[in-house]
Symmetry: C2
Subunit: 405 residues, 2 copies
């Protein structure tokens, strides 16, 4: 790049110019547990063609024209019905802002809420897609530890108290309560009540990212934080990327009507993905989404169980991992003395790829952790990939033992 | 909205909370020349269904999965071929960043190039969608007057000199050279050469927004600034919103490969609208886009000529207007003494709506101007709407004369 360009970039542009982005396409022969990609064979491609045909037959030319991000019918109405039925969220269609994927919704929240120097609370470990956005917006991110029962409300309260002593108030607490990314754990019922109560008592805004909420392997869902807050202190972030298709780029934010209307006025592109929104609307109303979700639950349950069994069979003693009840991810803790960052070159050499835990923290923690995505790979790849991971882990353990001698 | 929320909004959020957004849906009976909306009956809805069927038949499930904004084939290759043929722009597919509509591309440029306090040059009058974005990003916007021959290179040079004396360099000059929004005028060949030369001599980045370039009513296109710059000092912003469908949300930025790769790393959502991109790819490759553009040229030419004829027939002496060779807009100057802002309530009362010229300037200019969009209305609405506009203008003129007596 010429000198001219290096002078043109903004603060944010300079960060991007210096950054490296991993390729989404793994090298030949590599088994990649890196990305939370969907199960490709089940993507409803034929249904989308049927939906497109329906729109043509019904002269729905409006689906190709400009449409606002908020409407009082169409996809908004279909989502409102689904939210009431599946997530206990009772809202009017106008309380839903349809965005270009959930990322664009979160980015809008950053634009509308964060000034440089503001504090934001977030899961620790957290999905780096969100925390990177917060940092690009200039926020200071404070982590709330996520354990087997999800994020710790007592720690949230302690951080609020600390900040209050500094005269500061956090803009929001970002959390993935259900099948968390990267840990795969679920916020307990007790902690859900505690967090919702805290939000109401302390006027804390919670941004509840429930991207995986529909992908529960079995049993009844836990109530959303949105449904538990009595005072509208939760913005719910949803997506159709995991249940219909990421390629439709459809996410949504749910909140008080006046807040959502303000968000819409602050959006750079106030227009929705109207064509894919119309396809999704048809897919939801036809009842196919509900059926498809049942199918996806089986698919991801099988993949998850297959990976858990492979870990049990292959990994050396001292390794531990989470046992998800849904979603896309398992969080693994390597045996004492084995480092996930140091292990990565050997793992890639052996043909298996993952994300080291450090990528999900901002303070150097997570060196013994790694995230494994089972969603996008085949069951055969799961067996072989975990075998490869176990082999390099055992080799690293042996080396650690030899060094200790 | 509760007090809590008013404290949560960022600088930008507060601006949006205080702003008013016009509805895209006009009141019953209102003839709206407000939005640059497409001609709805010609939107290729059946073709999109055929494209969706094609994707299903060819098992193109990748079109529903995550895809990066930059690829070396698919829509990028189709666009590269089209750019070479129609715009004299010869680039590799990797030099094209596909965004969620052109707005998302411009927003990315703001994120990546503008720090608060930076200077940006822009057409005056200019499309407010762009200048609003620049201001939200914290830029100071300096206007370059746009006349019958487009933006004035001598004025650009004078502003560069002024800024240099202050020790400042503008981040870029944003301009719509072809069928400008809002004036409908076209940058002359001479001025194109002068601006490209200036960009190269002064290391000025030009952001060339050519949203309407394909919609020339007749004759040969003029060379793009991109094709005239010898040193890669132009980023070209294109869109499929005006030629296929706004509802697909597909825009694109074209520039040097390393610059485009950096832009992609800085994007919040690095994933493209992969499904609509695949539909558009099919539409372009099948040759239908080229045919459809011929059809659209006739449609918009007819509407433009109808509006020009109605203006000629109806408007009182002292009114003048631009005579576009393409695009969606006519820029009207009211007779001396008639104010477009003051006239608007009476116009709406009479059942016709427009945007006053002041909305396209930031310094109070444009009070005698207004923008008329002929693209989305029918020819009957054009006749009736201009008759209504003429009637309220004559009434205002009469009142002005009476007051002067």
């Amino acid at each position: 790049m010429t000198d001219t360009w290096s002078q043109r970039w903004s603060r944010r542009g300079k960060l991007a110019a210096a950054a490296q982005a991993p390729s989404r396409v793994p090298a030949p022969g590599m088994i990649s547990f890196v990305f939370g990609d969907p199960d490709v064979p089940s993507l409803p491609l034929e249904d989308m063609a049927e939906a497109a045909e329906y729109l043509a037959e019904h002269n729905r030319r409006d689906a190709l024209a400009y449409q606002n991000a908020i409407t009082d019918g169409e996809l908004n109405a279909a989502l409102a019905e689904k939210l009431a039925r599946d997530q206990g969220i009772h809202v009017q269609p106008e309380q839903i802002f349809v965005s270009h994927g959930a990322s664009a919704g979160l980015s809008l929240l950053c634009d509308m809420l964060i000034d440089p120097g503001d504090v934001v609370l977030a899961d620790a470990p957290a999905w780096m897609g969100a925390t990177n956005m917060f940092r690009l917006a200039g926020a200071e991110v404070r982590g709330v530890d996520v354990g087997e029962d999800g994020a710790d409300p007592a720690q949230v309260e302690a951080i609020l108290d600390d900040l209050a002593r500094e005269g500061r108030t956090p803009k929001f607490f970002y959390t993935i309560p259900t099948f968390q990314n990267p840990e795969g754990v679920e916020l307990s019922l007790e902690r859900r009540h505690a967090l919702a109560k805290l939000a109401d008592e302390r006027d804390l805004l919670i941004v509840e990212d429930d991207a995986y909420v529909d992908l529960r392997f079995s049993g009844a869902p836990k109530p959303t934080l949105f449904s538990l807050s009595q005072r509208g202190n939760v913005i719910f972030s949803g997506t159709l990327s995991k249940t219909i298709a990421a390629g439709l780029r459809l996410g949504y934010l749910v909140g008080p009507a006046d807040v959502v209307a303000t968000l819409a006025r602050g959006a750079v592109d106030t227009l929705r993905n109207s064509y894919t929104a119309a396809l999704a609307d048809w897919y939801i109303r036809s009842g196919r989404l509900a059926e498809h979700i049942q199918h996806l639950r089986q698919i991801y349950r099988e993949k998850c169980h297959r990976m858990l069994a492979a870990l049990e069979r292959e990994m050396p003693a001292g390794t531990s991992w989470t046992r998800p009840s849904g979603g896309f991810f398992i969080w693994l803790t390597l045996p004492e003395g084995v480092d996930a960052v140091d292990l990565l070159p050997a793992a890639r050499e052996a043909g298996v790829d993952y994300i080291p835990g450090t990528a999900f923290y901002s303070d150097g923690r997570g060196r013994r952790n790694l995230r494994l995505s089972y969603s996008g790979v085949t069951v055969e790849q799961i067996d072989e990939g975990i075998a490869r991971l176990a082999k390099v882990t055992r080799a690293a353990l042996a080396q650690t033992a030899a060094t200790a001698d």
